[in-house]
Subunit: 192 residues, 2 copies
Amino acid sequence: MELKTRQIEIVEAAGRLLTQKGINGLTIKNLAKEMHFSESAIYRHFESKEEIIIALLRYLADTIDHRLRSMSLSGKTDVDLKNLFDEQFLFFSEHHHFVVAVFSDGLMEESVSINKAIESLIGIMTRQLTAIVSEGQKTGQIRDDMATEHLIQIILGTYKLQMFKWRLAVFTFNLPAEGSQLIDTILRLIKK
Amino acid sequence: MELKTRQIEIVEAAGRLLTQKGINGLTIKNLAKEMHFSESAIYRHFESKEEIIIALLRYLADTIDHRLRSMSLSGKTDVDLKNLFDEQFLFFSEHHHFVVAVFSDGLMEESVSINKAIESLIGIMTRQLTAIVSEGQKTGQIRDDMATEHLIQIILGTYKLQMFKWRLAVFTFNLPAEGSQLIDTILRLIKK
DNA sequence: TATTTTTGTAAGCGAATACTTACTTACATG
DNA sequence: CATGTAAGTAAGTATTCGCTTACAAAAATA
């Protein structure tokens, strides 16, 4: 189901509210104010609040998925891994308001459909990462004396914590620059 | 400010609600139901809902701080690091209902006092970890060709993601066992 | 035993919540 | 130019929210 332009505007506004005011700041009233029109107008574009949250997660997942798919793999683990995360850090530095949804801790337990949307979002990152890391292990570029899933978790966990810190610092530091250094450290750790 | 036994019971119930139903599931009504008495009775023990959340975070911080302080350091990085996390995994496997507060993403942006309580909670873990890792680098047990802060972030991020996955899996896997393996992998990565 | 303190209750407050209804306006299309 | 549709509004709905009040029983204290 493709989103219309007005729906995308609403989804972006919802992301802004979520990031600025947390899950309890995302109300229909606040959303209407952010859109500069009435509460009831929101319901011309979405059937419920839950639908808006799910649309937000799907929109983000589709955007990220599209960006990652269009990323060509060189086969060199260090190059591919750096590209992957440069892409991520750049995207979020241009779209602050979606940071809240990176792994969506705060949205958990709201509804079953929302949880599924979160899982799918995690899956997209994990799939691409697994492809790069396991290829690197096969071709002898990455240490293969440890489980691929462990390496994935270490990389993803570090990445996620970086996003958390960036948000806690109210986006005041240079995410692509600091993120890039972190990835360098990880690469040196896992290289053969 | 020490908590009375009834207050601790309420704080534990609040933790259960938060973990099971998310931030929006933590209402005075639900809390009263969980405690098997009326809503107004809650206000005999706490002045406001915010005070309950802060008490929860402080109680957790104090408990963890106390446990970590009573942990003797051997000077051997691998032993100390394993002890630190075994302690953590054991604690949370015995107190499922506090997992939500590990880094408290969902609680962020609720109020200034709550954010401060979260920061203090993060600080406790970071401080202990920094002590162990930087000592390990000084004594040549840990790679010193990378920044201590990077290593800390990698370890903490991995730990936090593990807790997230455990909760997403509704506590169905053995946290101390799987957590221990993860720490082993990290140790092998950062050892000299 | 008399009195104060602690801890509970039922009933209800105003505000905020997600959402609905009935109606209007602008505009594209036959 | 008539008509259907898309997109807005004001004014509501029922429900839930955190919290308060007035009162009762029990327990601790004088």
